[in-house]
């Protein structure tokens, strides 16, 4: 058995040669640093180092679970992520279906290309643009005042209640076009004779979409769903940094930015690391749950 295993590896040496550099990189930069998680159980100070910092056990975890600010931050993270999931996930699917229904030609390709454009704007740039659009002299207020819907400009960026929606819709604007790519690719894999048969049987457009297109991309939808759900406790740090300000901090501070502020800002490395570890742990649980759920429904699963 052992001999044939080594023989197998030798016969695949080209593939092995391609993949081993990546594996080594991963081990060095992703797995070995995990040993640094020891700081989670310490009161780490950079001066003392890993081995001399006092050992405090689970004190860091007790500390943040009792911290009311942590719960606010958790609420923000989950709220924003769920809102984004709610709009972007169906949004990309619906847009993909509609683009798919366009007749092939210049307009269709033009629409697709334009829809991909916002994805390429980095948040560093897009953040400034969003702030400019929502300013008192910006696009939004100009339009609303032009239609006489409001008399005085509304400054959305200063209102903490608006932040979740600003984050969600600006992210939607940026990503919905790009998100259609995967679904459109899957749709090209659907057998065209199914459509023809349906049309001959008298199925309407909507009926064809509902019964052929959507079931045809269901495996991709399940896959994307599992991936999206596992990212719920995550967030887009670029976006948060750019759109955050002292006035909307109460609703804009998410776990990642909180870890940044307390960890590197206040120097509480252990606290921040503990929060980060907790977040990763929750992500894994969500991933396993989502995978289990899709397995039960019977469509594609990741593992």
């Amino acid at each position: 058995m052992k001999v044939s295993f080594i023989k197998k590896i030798k016969s695949q040496w080209q593939l092995q040669a391609m993949i081993w550099p990546s594996i080594i990189l991963l081990i060095i930069f992703a797995y070995i640093p995990m040993l640094g998680l020891i700081v989670v159980f310490q009161n780490y100070s950079p001066i003392e180092g890993f081995f001399n910092s006092p050992f405090v056990g689970l004190q860091n975890f007790q500390q943040f679970l009792g911290d009311s600010q942590f719960y606010q931050v958790m609420t923000n993270t989950l709220g924003i992520s769920l809102l984004k999931l709610l709009f972007e996930f169906p949004g990309a699917i619906i847009l993909a279906v509609l683009i798919n229904e366009l007749k092939d030609g210049l307009f269709k390709r033009f629409t697709q290309t334009v829809s991909y454009l916002p994805h390429f704007l980095a948040w560093t740039i897009l953040g400034g643009m969003v702030i400019s659009w929502l300013s008192s002299n910006g696009l939004l207020n100009n339009i609303l005042m032009g239609f006489h819907l409001i008399n005085k400009p509304i400054l959305l960026m200063t209102q903490s209640g608006a932040y979740w929606w600003i984050a969600t819709f600006s992210d939607l604007w940026k990503e919905v076009g790009w998100g259609t790519i995967l679904y459109l690719a899957a749709m090209t894999g659907i057998d065209p004779t199914l459509y023809e048969a349906a049309t001959v049987d008298g199925a309407s457009r909507l009926r064809r979409i509902w019964s052929i297109t959507l079931p045809g991309i269901l495996p991709i939808i399940s896959l994307m769903f599992v991936l999206s759900v596992s990212g719920i406790v995550g967030s887009n740090l670029d976006q948060t940094f750019m759109l955050q300000n002292t006035l909307n901090m109460s609703t804009s501070e998410v776990i990642d930015s909180f870890v940044y502020h307390t960890g590197l800002g206040n120097g509480s490395f252990s606290y921040a690391a503990a929060v980060g570890l907790f977040t990763s742990f929750v992500s894994i649980i969500l991933l396993l749950l989502a995978n289990f759920a899709t397995k039960k429904i019977g469509k594609a699963e990741i593992f």
Binding site: E101, F107, L139, R205, L206
Partner: protein
Amino acid sequence: MKKSKGDKIFDICNILFMVFFLALIIFPLLNILALSFNDGQDAVRGGI
């Protein structure tokens, strides 16, 4: 194959929606483009 009336309505709505969607993407980008070409004082005055 002859398109039924329902199909035609769907197509028209789809195209209208697409035009709206395109405007939603292009319009703000043009706004920023215009602002960047103009003098700073024009932007503060507003009305672009």
